[in-house]
Subunit: 163 residues, 2 copies
């Protein structure tokens, strides 16, 4: 809790909230200075918490006047069906624990899941795959679990309710 990386992550996310902009620019050295850490720490945070999987894109330029630009991918309500389809498509036969977490986080970021729901999803995926002895098999079970969870949470049956 409250690791340096967490603090930097929080700070960047606050920048997004404060400016309300989908796009934030930082200078690596300056940010490192503010947190009294080594500059490459910033890269670590970006690589582990602001990847496309997490719903962000990062651009940068070196040299004089260099910068790092972080863009938040937004998912308008009208696109949620597409995102959902894309997520289901991209779920292969096999899903690692890390990928599963990324999927849940992406859904949360797109406001398809709330924070509490996301926690339940993570716990469900974790607890219901533990019994599988072989890692490769476990990854396949994880994929099946996620798909079934997506189905029951987001799919409507065309069956009409009786009465």
């Amino acid at each position: 809790m409250a690791s340096l990386a967490d603090a930097i992550e929080r700070h960047i996310k606050e920048l997004f909230e404060q400016t309300g902009s989908p796009c934030v620019e930082i200078r690596r050295v300056e940010l490192a200075g503010r947190f009294s850490c080594v500059p490459s720490q910033i890269n670590y945070v970006l690589e582990t918490r602001f990847t496309p999987r997490h719903g962000y894109l990062v651009e940068s330029r070196r040299g004089g006047g260099g910068f790092i630009r972080i863009m938040r991918l937004t998912t308008p309500a009208s696109d949620r069906a597409d995102l959902l389809r894309a997520v289901i498509e991209r779920l292969g036969e096999s899903v690692s624990a890390r990928e599963a977490d990324a999927v849940v986080e992406r859904l949360q970021q797109a406001r398809l899941l709330g924070a509490g729901e996301a926690a339940v999803w993570r716990a469900a995926v974790r607890s219901q795959t533990e019994w599988v002895p072989i890692p490769s098999l476990r990854d396949r079970v994880r994929a099946a679990l996620l798909r079934s969870m997506l189905m029951v949470r987001f799919m409507e049956a065309s069956t009409s309710e009786p009465f």
Copy 2:
């Protein structure tokens, strides 16, 4: 009685009462230190007393700034909670296709699932177990699927974060 595990359990539950929060964070080493025991004892307590079945979710992170977060599940409406508990109890390690249908049927009759939902549940269970080659294994995957579906459909984790 009054085993070490019991004492640790009590202590964690007191943390919930004291803070009134649905979400408590501990550091494994620190807690182990307080009870003068080995750190893995904490895991034992969590595994035996703070599972989803007991109404809790546990998430954790390793490494520097690691933590263990224990979340309390909000209890669903009491009349249905009993049936749900019963259903979850009865779900063994292994569930045949027939048993799975019976479970869904039962949930539907208890008005916990609508007709459309029930159809989706049956379809999800069927389609997501087809890939499993070995029948005995398939039954275990079916059980895992059903449990995860029950979790995401009926468990509500109230996290205190606004987000």
